[in-house]
Amino acid sequence: MPTKRSFTVGPKGRRAGRARAAAFVVWVALSGLGGSARADDAALADTLWQAGRDFFARKDYAQACPKFEASLKLDRQLGTLLNLAECHANLGKLATAQGQWREGIEWAKKNLAADPLDKKSTERLTYALDHLKELEPRVPKLLLVVRNPVSGVGVVRDGAPVDPELFGLPQPLDPATYKLAVVRGKQVLAEHTVTVVAGKSERLELDVGAIVAAAPPPEDPDRPAEPPSSAQRIAGIAVTATSGAAVLIAGGLELGAIVKKGQADRDDGCVNKFCSPQGLDAANAAKRFAEAGQWLGIAGLLGTAVGLTVWLTAPSSPEPASTGRAPFVLPWLGPEGGGLVVGGAM
């Protein structure tokens, strides 16, 4: 009963072309032919297969193929595999289809080895062989010839490494444009774009020795780019220097505040904090200077502490950095007194 996932075959004795024309007329049940699957997976696979079949019937292969593929992933069935092969062939993915027809042929042969009287497998084997025979002349191939290979230098096709064993052998490919690159590690030494079309073979010759000779010298993986300790030390010194400058400016503002306060506290400025207009102006200016100096000073001192911490916690580098290790004393001055920040290697 043609209800379960099935695979289209033409009536026996007809030519393959007519068989394809009658595709999806006869759907042979496949239950029991593939590997086992969980019941819910099988049901889902069946739904996907049905959807794929509907798209296929409407010749919407771009939609049909992923459905067959998803169904196959959930529940491997020979019929679904052959459906997928035919779908890919119609979609133009000729090398992909070729591989799937071949896989289907091997599968059917295995079934027949187990049961030589298995009629369905016989029909499918014939069907797959016919399609493969018809397809093979159309599958484009790329012959990659690599001359003067160099150790550590490889070829990638669209980012994926090409097995050196394939060099010199025609590789079946789906019709498309491919980017081939000669690479050394992550370094791209040369790039080529190759477009392959159905029924035509391309040849690309790469003289790897010459490409390597023309390329810039290799990056030494053992050479440390920039010691992280150095970057951290530089950052620490920069922060310390900037913050130290802020502290000095803050000190200047505090000195300004002290001078202005002196003007306010002169006898003709303020007496017991009761001020003449001139005295009040000086007192207000002193307050503004003191506030600005206070916040700038706090920020600067905190920044200095952060900078020193970053500087002192920088990992040791192979080269001695005397500035980063020598003990130091940093004086600071504020309105309430002064202090020293002491640091250095312990």
């Binding site: 002169r266 003709d268 207000n284 916690t313 312990m346």
Partner: protein, 126 residues
């Protein structure tokens, strides 16, 4: 060891800095609480009602006198008029704020209490 010591030093420095600096420079310099003596005096508007623009007039007069006169006026104000308005007119009548030239009313003039008068916009006598 060295990194841990550095981190400890940095943290200790930050705490020390914040601890020392947080009381504030404004407080440390004792910069709060300064007041305008003229503004304080002009709050006594009952006693100085004859002054149409008390703050404007007195600020201009006090700002225009010598440092010695201003210093003496401030000392007198701080001693007599900083707490209440009882002596407001006495403070006003000190050299520095009262007028020796132009006037609109007799009370404008220095020495009004001792007989000075305002005649044709000028202080006379006293």
């Amino acid at each position: 060891m060295r990194r841990a010591a550095g981190a400890l030093l940095g943290a200790a420095s930050a705490v020390a800095i914040v601890g020392v600096a947080s009381p504030g420079c404004v407080g440390a310099l004792s910069l709060d609480g300064y007041r305008d003596a003229v503004d304080e005096l002009c709050r006594c508007d009952e006693q100085l009602a004859f002054l149409a623009d008390c703050e404007g007039v007195l600020s201009a007069r006090l700002g225009g006198v010598s440092a010695t006169t201003r210093s003496a006026w401030l000392a007198f104000f701080a001693e007599r008029c900083s707490d209440d308005c009882t002596s407001a007119y006495a403070c006003y009548a000190q050299p520095g704020t009262c007028s020796t030239v132009g006037c609109t009313v007799a009370e404008d003039c220095c020495g009004f209490a001792t007989g000075a008068t305002c005649q044709l916009g000028e202080c006379q006598g006293g």
